[in-house]
């Protein structure tokens, strides 16, 4: 069969990372002459189940599914498969009901790289604080894990404080960092688990006027964040291949509909991005 109409169920368009993927999918599908119907769950998995139902009602040929909620729900995948529609899971996969293929960044490894880099830059010592994402969510868990693995190799770096954001928002990053710096003015490393959090943290550091260099790490490689990185607002991030993942998702969909085989897992590396290599990503997001 030939794919004509794709359904795209996005977790939350208010997050730049998902919005990037959405834009990439839409642009690339247009190139390929496919129709895309996009729905936005606004972060709520129940809404997403409803939306997937609606997509199936519209006779889509394949579903690109970016699960909403803390962790991936199985029902959308099951429902789609029951209707004979191939599912391409992006970013998160459900343990009980995996998609026909799973496209994601290797979060643990990438987070490990980021933390390793920032630790090294800071000279392998100092006080570190972590601004976590929403507690208990897959990316929060994975990134904490990766970073923890890296920091295990730096005994002189002390994690003096960590706080959790509720919605990965930039203003939360600002407030949480500000509060942590209150109690720990000697902090020299800040790890933000997302670029938005890192940008907020950078602003808080700037406001605090600490009088010493503070190294700040982010994650995701949001378009806007990359520009900030270039300007030296913060120091390192891991650029996820949003454009690439979007294109890959569409290609996988075409293949799956045509009955071709696709790898069950297509993990992408997030490229460690610093001031030195950021220009190319601003030019063209991977």
């Amino acid at each position: 069969a030939e794919a004509k109409k794709l359904g795209l169920a996005v977790a939350n368009l208010q997050a730049d990372f998902f919005n990037q993927i959405k834009q990439s999918v839409e642009a690339y599908a247009k190139e390929k002459g496919l129709e895309v119907v996009t729905v936005d769950a606004k972060g709520d998995s129940a809404t997403q189940v409803s939306q997937v139902q609606d997509l199936i009602t519209q006779n889509i040929d394949a579903l690109i599914y970016i699960p909403a909620g803390a962790t991936a729900a199985t029902v959308p995948t099951k429902t789609a498969k029951a209707a004979g529609i191939p599912v391409i899971n992006v970013d998160r996969n459900a343990a009980g009901a995996p998609g026909d293929t799973f496209i994601a960044t290797n979060s643990v490894a990438s987070a490990k790289n980021v933390c390793d880099y920032i630790a090294k830059q800071a000279g392998g010592k100092g006080e570190l604080i972590i601004i976590h994402g929403q507690k208990g969510t897959t990316p929060e868990v994975d990134r904490s894990k990766g970073c923890g693995e890296a920091l295990a190799g730096y005994p002189d770096i002390k994690v003096v404080g960590e706080l959790w954001s509720e919605g990965w928002h930039q203003d939360e990053g600002f407030k949480l960092t500000q509060d942590l710096l209150q109690s720990h003015p000697n902090v020299s490393i800040v790890v933000g688990q997302a670029d938005a959090l890192a940008l907020g943290a950078a602003q808080a550091v700037k406001v605090a006027n600490l009088g010493h260099k503070v190294w700040i790490a982010g994650f995701d490689g949001d378009v806007a964040a990359l520009k900030a990185l270039k300007d030296g607002v913060f120091d390192v991030t891991a650029t996820q291949q949003t454009q690439g993942m979007g294109r890959l998702a569409v290609d996988s969909a075409i293949k799956l509909v045509a009955g071709e085989k696709v790898e069950p897992e297509q993990l992408q590396d997030a490229t460690l991005t610093t001031k030195d290599n950021v220009a190319q990503f601003i030019e063209k997001h991977p």
Partner: protein, 338 residues
Amino acid sequence: MSSKPGSADLSVSAGEPRAGGLKPLFAALFAGAKGPLIGLILLCLVLSVSTDTFLTVRNILNVLDQITVLGIMAIGMTLVILIGGIDLSVGSILALGAMVLGYVVNPDYLGLPIPAGIAAALLVGGLCGLVSGLLVTVAKLPPFIATLAMMSVARGLANIITDGSQIVGFPDWFTNLSIVRHFGFISVTVGVMIVLGVIFAIFLNYRATGRNLYAIGGSPEVARLSGIPVNRLTNWVYAVCGVLAALAGVVLAARLDSVQPSSGFGYELDTIAAVVIGGASLSGGVGSIGGTAIGVLIIGVLRNGLNLLGVSPFIQQIVIGVVIALAVAADTWRRRAK
């Protein structure tokens, strides 16, 4: 608008039901929601014409499935708003109820049978509601503050149970409750919502206690002077609203085959909106289950329809806002035209 004494008034309007006779069921059910009802019908007409999928049995069943959670919560919210209260905690109680269910039945935790889990969930929901009620009646907090506090506390509790992680996996028969369509068309969860709606509609219209809720909403002072146990009923209403929110959490668990502490976030506004779109007044004393059903359907159909039309998500937000305003404004125009 009192009908002229002695003259035969043949026009029966929903707003001002007909004198003396049997209050027509229809009028009683949709009291104050005729405008939104027109809005809903127009909406359905437009969608039937502009898509070829909206008016299919499968899609209509989908819409019913999709509104179950909102619908069950909105029943409880109708009671609360009727007595002049508001409950911001329903979304959090939903999450807490779902997490309690998961904790009790999942083999990694307590591993008890599902009915025990459901009972525990409803009990916890009822307790949360009762606490809100007591905060209102005993500590004399404004309902907004009492339930805002409960919203925060219940969410915290929901998160603490598993330190923020979800619990996945229920027996098949449980998830089938929301999937298998009996008699060819109705799932158990949808059935539960409909039965609850009917029960509460009857309760509000035909039971003395139900009418007393209207009196409390109209004026707690008058109700008290008339010998109605205002505080006791208020506590009950919040407790029932809590139980129904927890039940919505159970339904959601069946629907998602998993429970997570973040679910139901922001649902309070949706639920209140459905009730108010359905003609209820936030100052109390006015509202009906029928109206709420219309409110719930307007929200459900609107979201479904815009997805079917493939309207892009950002445009959807604008359209939803405009349609909600229009649906409720229809009531003003209808009254004015009279």
